[in-house]
Symmetry: none
Subunit: 271 residues, 2 copies
DNA sequence: GAGTGGTCTAGACCACCTC
DNA sequence: AGGTGGTCTAGACCACTCT
C-alpha cells in the first residue's frame, strides 16, 4: 500500500506494537528531513486513516514521540516536528556523562580512585538500595578532573554482588567507566532520580576540590534502577559548578546558535 | 451510588473531565492515608467498574497520577501508591514551579510580584532570545514562597509581544501561573535548556531570600523554545535548596515501594 | 489458571482553533 | 464553518504475572 514514506504500511504480523511502528516511521521522517523542523504533522485523524489505525493508537504514538522530544503537541492545534535528535541526545542521560564528555568533545577526564572496597553502607545508601539494615556493600570514592581542573568528588554505593563485579573490572584503577562497566554487565539504567542542592564545602571536601571551606558546591544525590525496578547504584557527588557546567534539557536538544561565547558546556554529572 | 471513599461518584454534568475527577479521588485517598504508601490500587478493570467509567478513561487518570508522582505503575502488576510529598521540583519537566508544586501535592505557593514592566533587556537575555541588540522586553521579577517559607527569587525576560499578553493576564497580580498562561496563548514548551550552578547569595538576593550573604544557593538559568524553535522565555532563578527540593528524573518516574520488608519484587539479578 | 495491564478497534460528542 | 484534538465508551485479544 502507499504510505507517506513510500515504504510499507504497518506490519500486522510483527510483535512490535503498532504504535511503536508508527512512532518509528514518524521519527524517521523527522530525522531525514522529510518533515522539517516546525512542520505540522498530519492530524490524528489523517494519520489514523493513512496508516489504517485507530485514533487511540495514533495518540499513543504521538504521546511517545512527545515524551522523547521528537514532537511538540499543542492542544487543538496539532503536533509539530521538533529538533532532529542529535548525537548527544538523552541528556536525561542513561549514558555515562563522562564517557560522553570524553568521546563527544575533546576533553580530558582524569580519575583518581581514593577508595574502592567492601564496607558497611551508610543508612542513606541502605535505604536507597533497599537492602537490609546493616548491609555491606561496595564503596567507590573518586576525585575527577576535567581538562586538568579538579571538577568533582563522588561516592558510589553499590550492592555487594555488583561491587564484586566492579572490583574485578578496570574501574578501581581509574581507567574504566563505571557506567559502561555496569551496562555491559546487564545493569542498564532504566530510571534514575537525582536531587540537586547547593551546599557549602566543608573541610574535607573543600580540600579535595581545592576550594576554600564555605565555597558553594552542587551536591547531587542519585539513585539508579534497572528495568526490574531494582536499585543498583546510589551515589553522591560534590561538583564545582565553576568547572563543570551542569545542564538539563527538556524535550529535544535545544538549538545552539553557533554564536561566539562560552565554548564549553559540559553536560551533566554521573557515576 | 456507593463508592470507595463514601462520597459521590463521578459528576456527570461537571465540566471537569472524568479522568481528572477520578485522579482527584485517588489522590485524596493517598494523601489521607486511605491508601497507604506502597498499597496496590484496584486494577484498571475494577476501577472502571467501581466508578462506572471505561478502562481508557481510568488509564488516562492513572497516567496522570504517575506523571505527577502519586502512583507508580508496574507493567502487569498494577499501580501502587507512591510518596509524592518527598518529591521535589522536577527540573526537566515542562511544568512550571507553581503548577508542579500546587497541582497534585497540597502545597501552598505564594507569589510576590516585585516588578512587572516593559524595560530594556540585559545582554544575556537579548542573546538568549535572539533579539536585536538593545531590544526592549517584558521583565517579571517574583519572590515565591512555598508553604510560607521563602523559596526562590526569579527574573523572567520575555519578548515584548509575549510580555503584552502576560501583562493582561492575572500573572502580574501574583495569582496566575506564567507557564499555563503562556501555554494557553499557544506558547507550549517544545524544548528548554537549563543550567544549574551553586552560587553564594549576594547582598540583594540574600535579603530577599532571608539568608546570610554567602549562603549557597542554586542558580538556574533557563531558555525555552516553542515548536518553531523560537525562544520565548529566558529566566534566572535563585533557589534555596533547603526549602525547595530540586529533582531530576531520568526515564520513568522512579519507583518507591514502601519499607524494606516489602515482598521483594524480582530481586533477581541478571548475570 | 485466574488476574492484570498492554494494545487495539470503531465508533461518538464536544469545545476550541483556524480560516 | 469546518477542522482538530480532548474526552469518552464498550467492547476485544493477548502476553505476562501471580499463586
Amino acid at each position: 500500500m502507499s504510505t507517506p514514506d513510500g515504504g510499507e504500511g504497518i506490519d500486522r504480523v510483527s510483535v512490535e506494537p503498532y504504535y511503536l511502528q508508527l512512532a518509528a516511521r514518524i521519527r524517521e521522517q523527522i530525522s531525514t528531513g522529510a518533515l522539517a523542523m516546525g512542520d505540522r504533522l498530519p492530524s490524528e485523524g489523517e494519520l489514523a486513516a493513512t496508516w489504517n489505525l485507530s485514533r487511540a493508537t495514533v495518540r499513543e504514538a504521538l504521546r511517545l514521540l512527545e515524551e522523547q522530544g521528537w514532537v511538540t503537541r499543542i492542544p487543538r492545534r496539532g503536533a509539530f516536528a521538533s529538533m532532529p535528535q542529535q548525537r548527544g541526545w538523552l541528556l536525561q542521560g542513561r549514558e555515562g556523562f563522562f564517557e560522553d564528555e570524553v568521546e563527544g568533545r575533546r576533553r580530558q577526564v582524569t580519575t583518581h580512585v581514593l577508595r574502592a572496597e567492601q564496607a558497611p553502607l551508610p543508612e542513606s545508601a541502605v535505604e536507597a538500595l533497599q537492602l537490609p539494615p546493616g548491609s555491606h556493600g561496595y564503596v567507590l570514592e573518586r576525585l575527577r578532573e576535567l581538562d586538568g581542573k579538579v571538577a568533582l568528588f563522588s561516592i558510589n554505593y553499590l550492592p555487594l554482588q555488583i561491587g564484586t563485579l566492579v572490583s574485578r573490572s578496570d574501574v578501581p584503577t581509574g581507567e574504566g567507566s563505571l557506567n559502561s562497566t555496569l551496562r555491559k554487565a546487564g545493569y542498564a539504567v532504566a530510571s534514575a532520580s537525582r536531587t540537586v542542592e547547593a551546599v557549602a564545602a566543608d573541610g574535607d571536601i573543600a580540600d579535595l576540590l581545592q576550594v576554600r571551606a564555605g565555597t558553594p558546591l552542587l551536591k547531587i544525590k542519585s539513585t539508579t534502577w534497572d528495568a526490574k525496578l531494582v536499585a543498583f547504584d546510589h551515589h553522591e557527588v560534590w561538583v564545582r559548578s565553576d568547572v563543570v557546567h551542569v545542564e538539563i534539557q527538556v524535550g529535544a536538544p535545544a538549538p545552539v546558535p553557533a554564536s561566539s561565547h562560552s565554548p564549553e558546556i559540559g553536560r551533566i554529572v554521573s557515576p
